[in-house]
């Protein structure tokens, strides 16, 4: 399994910024960033 970090964002802007990171994926209710 791939390790990952999880980020819980509170608004759309933060979600947009987080998902721009390489490998980042959305999961319902938040954003996961692959490391």
């Amino acid at each position: 399994m791939k390790p990952f970090t999880y980020e819980r964002v509170t608004d759309v802007r933060a979600a947009g910024a987080a998902v721009l990171r390489p490998g980042a994926r959305f999961i319902s209710g938040g954003t996961i960033s692959w490391t």
Binding site: M1, P3, F4, T5, Y6, R8, I27, G29, G30, T35
Partner: protein, 214 residues
């Protein structure tokens, strides 16, 4: 005479086996804590949960499901692992009052959330009304699905009170949902009972939900 001898043998056997079981459990626990040390080099994430009214601070591998967190880290084994992929409902718990399949949710997604498991619904001396109704109506056989059924029923009754329609609701614009048997069956359809105690589960929920028309 024969009966008393065989009883004595049985009691002696239990007395012999019991400490062996406890010893193996202790060894198993030691192994588990050993594996925790091994995995400590993997990245962990701090997670704060309130579980059954108690604040719990955890350091978790972010891949840990809420179900495994409850069972393996907090030792709340009332919540059951049936299918581990959201099909059986045995792992249903309440998160901030809403029912979810804890196997399909990562614990890190619930930082600061309030979780209620079957252990938090009632106690042996003060059962939650839905627990009492399940006993009264004989709404289980093996009992494996029951913790999920109970949490799901509590969440479902709240949803109906809040006016949430279901697929079985004739008038979806109505604010008042009468929990008929068809409504209860539809709303509880995510909780599978291999023993097929469904008629009694429906009856128990109907009792607590206010005895809506059948």
């Amino acid at each position: 005479m024969n009966l008393s001898i065989s009883r004595r043998i049985v009691v002696s056997a239990i007395a012999f086996i019991w400490p062996l079981g406890a010893a193996s459990a202790a060894i198993f626990k030691k192994k588990k804590s050993g594996s925790d040390v091994e995995t400590s080099t993997k990245p962990t994430t701090p997670v704060s949960l309130t579980v059954n009214g108690q604040a719990r601070q955890l350091e978790l591998d972010p891949r840990t499901s809420l179900l495994d967190t409850l069972r393996e880290h907090l030792y709340l084994t009332g919540t059951k692992k049936g299918c581990d992929h959201g099909q059986c409902g045995a792992c249903t718990v309440l998160v901030n009052g809403r029912r979810i399949n804890s196997c399909l949710s990562l614990a890190v997604m619930h930082d600061q959330d309030e979780v209620t498991t079957v252990e938090g619904l009632g106690s042996p001396t003060a059962l939650h009304p839905i627990q009492a109704a399940f006993i009264e109506r004989d709404a289980f056989q093996c009992g494996y699905c029951t913790p999920g059924q109970l949490c799901s029923a509590v969440g479902m009754i709240s949803e109906a009170k809040a006016g949430w329609p279901s697929h079985a609701t004739a008038d979806v614009s109505s604010r008042h949902i009468a929990l008929s048997d068809a409504e209860i069956r539809e709303r509880m359809s995510g909780n599978i009972c291999r023993c097929a105690a469904y008629p009694n589960i429906v009856a128990a929920i109907r009792d607590v939900a206010g005895g809506a028309s059948r």
